[in-house]
Symmetry: C2
Subunit: 315 residues, 2 copies
């Protein structure tokens, strides 16, 4: 996978970059952004990393994660070059207004949004981290342990640590190279998967107790009350649908997260090649990947649930 | 990693092999055995695969798993060549008596037992599957999809699907090659991790609700009543301590499984390099590995728990 020449020339020519990833950032969003920033700095450029939402606690181990800024420059300040990572439009990055020169999109999500003066969108890439790996190699960057840890985490998160169907031979070979460059696979796995708070575990138990299975779809709900009762936070629900996906007869796991009364964020996870949940999410104005997607819906829970079940049945 | 010349010559010269792995077989035991048998058959040899215990349900997807025999030839029948895989002695394979010519050990466990006319024991190998991979390549075997699936599963199980500290670059590169030879990483992961029954999930919820944390030790209990209430079975508790090990402040997870009144099987799991739980288990007459061990105890739960906590504190 070779980045477009236009993109390489852009990075070689320009000096200052403002990197932004999507809201509610995951390991691919943060890891890719930090790795690219570190890489650009190592070749004498300036790079800032922005995310509207704070870095979740369990990604704080990522080298230089403390540099992720939560505030945008005011709209009078002109940003020379905006790089959107792991998303394809300003809205996904939670940016309403920005005064920028050139805009660039580096993303592996399927839903192309048309934004960006230079676009490099590769849905076949398992993670944006894979794309950043190829990009910085082409730019002649030496992969330091800090870059390797960020990229390895990005790739690990988006492949379920090499359990999803996007685990191509290329993904494992890049991961092997990143270990050689200093990434520690067990340290990363412990930080990603084994740094739960007790509140988070208590929330998981409450959520799993709501399980309802219809055909091969497992539905769970997390309510605002549950957050209050357990003291857990929104980012704690990351990967909750993975726990109901463990069931043998379940092919799709859906988690309804109550944002406010009758307004839900729905996360969908599917197994294997059976159902492309990105297509389902798109029907409701959302998006994502084949096996992991999401959307928002304003409706009573039971209605929203039935509408989803119907859409899956008809898919 | 190159197999000893003596071992290669042995496999080139001989025609008939009897393969046996350890009792309570895991994915490395079964996958390595089936892969080696398939490889030997592909170059015109005869190979039988034995395991004293049945192949667990979630390993039934392994190609040719139906060929694993549960009965030994009677002691009058002479077996020309016995190959012990993923264990180093007859006792671990549940074999009391066998009439065999040459005996061979191919194993990556640390405890060398002295058994075997030809021994290839490599504790630095992440899985016996890695050793079988190198062996059959040296024998000139073409890796078919069936062989690849068995070897990939063997390696996946013993590295926590590339999450443990034994995930060396070499492991990932071999896995990449096995995918190219026909192993399907997501199908394998789904079969290993995502074939839970609803009973099992219900049991997990009950068990997690009993969690008690003392210092960095998380203790859970599974009672006979819980099995009755959920319809789950003993093998369903496999990896249950892994769920409490997810907690940030927990370094040791202990699951007390009630075998009968005041008699428990205790499973211990630890994180990283902090505590060798095999040493703790040995104090109570059990054993295992650094991060996964177990023992049995006849006592009231609260007493057994306090004795364990004391032993961990003193370690």
């Amino acid at each position: 996978m070779r980045p477009p020449e236009e993109l390489l020339e852009f990075f070689r020519r320009e000096k200052k970059f403002f990197l932004a990833a999507h809201i509610n950032p995951d390991g691919d969003a943060i890891g890719s952004s930090l790795a690219l920033a570190l890489a650009l700095e190592s070749i004498g450029k300036e790079a800032e990393v922005y995310d509207k939402d704070p870095v979740p606690d369990f990604y704080m181990f990522l080298p230089t994660s403390e540099k992720v800024m939560a505030s945008l420059p005011d709209s009078k300040t002109k940003i020379p070059n905006l790089i959107l990572l792991d998303c394809g439009e300003l809205d996904r990055a939670g940016i309403k207004e920005i005064n920028c020169g050139t805009s660039v999109v580096i993303d592996h999500h399927e839903t192309e949004k048309g934004f960006g003066d230079i676009k490099w969108i590769k849905p076949e890439a398992a993670a944006t981290g894979i794309m950043v790996f190829y990009l910085i190699k082409e730019l002649g960057v030496k992969i330091t342990p800090d870059i390797a840890t960020n990229l390895y985490t990005a790739i690990a998160i988006d492949t379920g640590t090499f359990r999803y169907s996007n685990t191509a031979p290329e993904v494992l070979r890049i991961a092997a190279e990143l270990i050689e460059s200093g990434a520690d696979p067990s340290l990363i796995a412990e930080n990603i998967y084994e740094t739960w708070t007790e509140n988070r575990l208590r929330l998981l138990l409450k959520v799993l107790n709501t399980i309802e299975i219809q055909n091969d779809v497992a539905i769970t709900i997390v309510t605002l009350d549950m957050f209050r009762e357990t003291g857990a936070v929104v980012s704690d629900t990351e990967n909750f649908p993975g726990f109901t996906r463990m069931l043998k007869n379940v092919n799709v796991a859906a988690l309804f997260r109550e944002v406010e009364k009758d307004y839900f964020k729905v996360s969908l996870r599917s197994k294997g090649r059976k159902l492309n949940v990105a297509k389902i999410a798109e029907k409701f104005g959302g998006g994502g990947h084949r096996n992991a997607a999401g959307y928002r819906v304003r409706a009573d829970f039971n209605i929203a649930k039935d509408v989803l079940l119907k859409a899956i049945k008809e898919a």
